[in-house]
Amino acid sequence: MTDNSTIAGTEQEIVDEFSLFDSWDDKYEYIIDLGKRLPELAAEHKTDENRVRGCQSTVWLIANDREGKIFYEADSDSTIVKGLISMLIRVLSGHTADEIIEAKLDFIDRIGMRAHLAQTRSNGLVAMVKQMKNYALAYKLKNEVNDGYRSTETKSN
């Protein structure tokens, strides 16, 4: 049994799932299926601001925080890319900023995806991961600034 309460645990879970497939056809069918099942992002979020640069297809990514944890939603006009995003969301969503920033995300290598995708497309994947981590970093910085204000206020009271 793997532990899906941690990022590394979910990564292992995906690696285990992929080890069941004999061929890349099967792997792609699974990724396509994930892509189709990922809920569509609401039209109002499909803005230029939410676009991830560096992808051949269009990718939109948004993040929200609840109780100190970050949750992602994303969409793409490419089904395969959507499937890949779906896996990234499954791994990273619901974790703290620190956990996300420090996530190794070596499952992409371990399932053979990075080697399998042509470099240009792989770069798109890298751009997505970077954007997800950037969100986490932004939340962390924002909270540190807010914490800083609070402590100053406490002092002045």
Binding site: D25, S57, S78
Partner: protein, 413 residues
């Protein structure tokens, strides 16, 4: 041109055996290489020429008096003669080696353009240009306060010639036009375009990056002022481009890059420049690749350009017919005169997904905007899937593409 009935059919299996890469596997399947408009594969003779140069007579050219330098110079200059013959230029002085079509176009923009285009002047390009025949002119227009005019493209992917004629005026200084569209395969009526431009006194550059491998090129008959192409799309090495220019124009143009080789005499007071074509070949050139390029041209000549063109046209017709049978497939670019390029989109399927799933079956196609974003905007599509054929492709490979597409569509639906 040779009459069609006198053209001997090419022996595709014999041709294939000359290209070692075609024997490899991709993702466990035999490679089906259909991205020839991006770059062509290289015959063994070209690969050997590179090795032979470096292992046998590597030397810097034009200066040394030793044997190696003389051998290297002779081989380098032999390519210039081969290129001259290949495009039927009047003289070898009109053939300038560059890094590629992009550099050739930029050379014209930075030299002829800066000397001849003034504020309020107009440059005409078309809506089907590659970015490399758009951006250099935009830079020039911005710098000079000149205006860039664009010939629109109709539904079929052909230039709207009546609009072109109406754009021409005494303000037109240059028409820079693609001979064959990389994204659509359209063969443009360059002769007609050039004649009309010359009547208004404009100079014409023909971007032959895609055409030179498919069509019979005769720059004298075409009467273009400049012609640009790349060796790597002609079964030759990367990093070699050609700029042909009419002698009187090249002679009157200011120099481009300054340095060694392009000078006659240098002093701190004044430098005089070398004769054509060396005036535009500053620094040590790409000697090995230029030398190897001749072997690519020899290969094409030995196979026979007319025979290649005839065979590629058969591939185009067969491919167009077979692809049209796929439900939901729409061919983008249905010009009456086309080179062996088929661009298409599929209903509800992103080109990138098709590209990935075809690659998984060993089939190499291009997906995306093909460096022609304004053209994609005309068709209101983000990009296409493009299969482009070369002399070594087979009907069987087209069948593999069709089977691969059907499989990919099934997986995605």
């Amino acid at each position: 041109m040779i009459p069609a009935e006198q053209i001997l059919p090419i022996d595709v299996q014999h041709i294939r055996s000359a290209f070692p890469i075609l024997g490899r596997q991709v993702k466990g399947k035999p490679l089906v290489y259909l991205d020839n408009a991006a770059t062509t594969q290289k015959p063994q003779a070209v690969i050997d020429a590179l090795t032979n140069y470096y292992s046998g007579y590597n030397a810097n050219i034009h200066r040394g008096i030793h044997t190696l330098a003389e051998e290297a110079t002779a081989a380098y200059e032999a390519t210039r003669d081969a290129v001259k013959d290949f495009i039927n230029a009047p003289s070898r002085e009109e053939i300038i080696f560059t890094r590629g079509t992009t550099e050739s176009i930029n050379l014209v923009a930075y030299t002829w353009g800066r000397a001849n285009v003034q504020q309020g002047d107009e440059i005409i390009i078309s809506a089907m240009e590659h970015h490399s025949n758009i951006v250099p002119w935009q830079i020039l227009c911005e710098e000079k306060g000149a205006v860039l005019k664009v010939i629109p493209v109709n539904e079929l992917g052909e230039l709207e010639m009546d609009v072109y004629l109406s754009l021409l005026s005494e303000k037109t200084k240059l028409v820079s036009i693609v001979h064959v569209s990389n994204a659509l395969g359209t063969i443009n009526p360059v002769r007609q375009i050039i004649d009309a431009a010359h009547k208004t006194g404009a100079v014409v550059l023909v971007d032959g990056a895609q055409s030179t491998v498919h069509l019979h090129i005769d720059v004298q008959e075409m009467d273009c002022d400049f012609f640009a192409c790349s060796a790597h799309k002609l079964y030759g090495p990367t990093g070699v481009g050609i700029l042909y220019g009419k002698k009187d124009i090249l002679e009157s143009m200011p120099v481009f890059l300054g340095g060694g080789e392009m000078i006659k005499e240098v002093s701190f007071d004044k430098t005089t420049y070398n004769e054509l074509p060396y005036k535009y070949e500053a620094g040590t050139p790409n000697i090995a690749d230029v030398i190897a390029f001749k072997y690519a041209l020899d290969f094409i000549n030995a196979t026979g350009k007319a025979a290649i063109a005839q065979y590629e046209h058969q591939l185009l017709e067969y491919g167009t017919g077979q692809l049209a049978n796929i439900p939901g497939l729409h061919i983008i670019g249905r010009a009456r005169h086309k080179a062996s390029v088929i661009s298409f989109v599929l209903d509800k399927v992103h080109p990138q997904d098709i590209g990935i799933l075809l690659d998984n079956q060993g089939i190499a196609v291009r997906t995306g905007h093909h460096c022609a974003q304004p053209l994609m905007d005309c068709y209101k599509i983000p990009g296409t899937i493009r299969a482009s054929f070369a002399m070594y492709n087979t009907f069987h490979e087209i069948d593999a593409l069709v089977a691969g597409l059907n499989k990919a569509i099934k997986m995605l639906s």
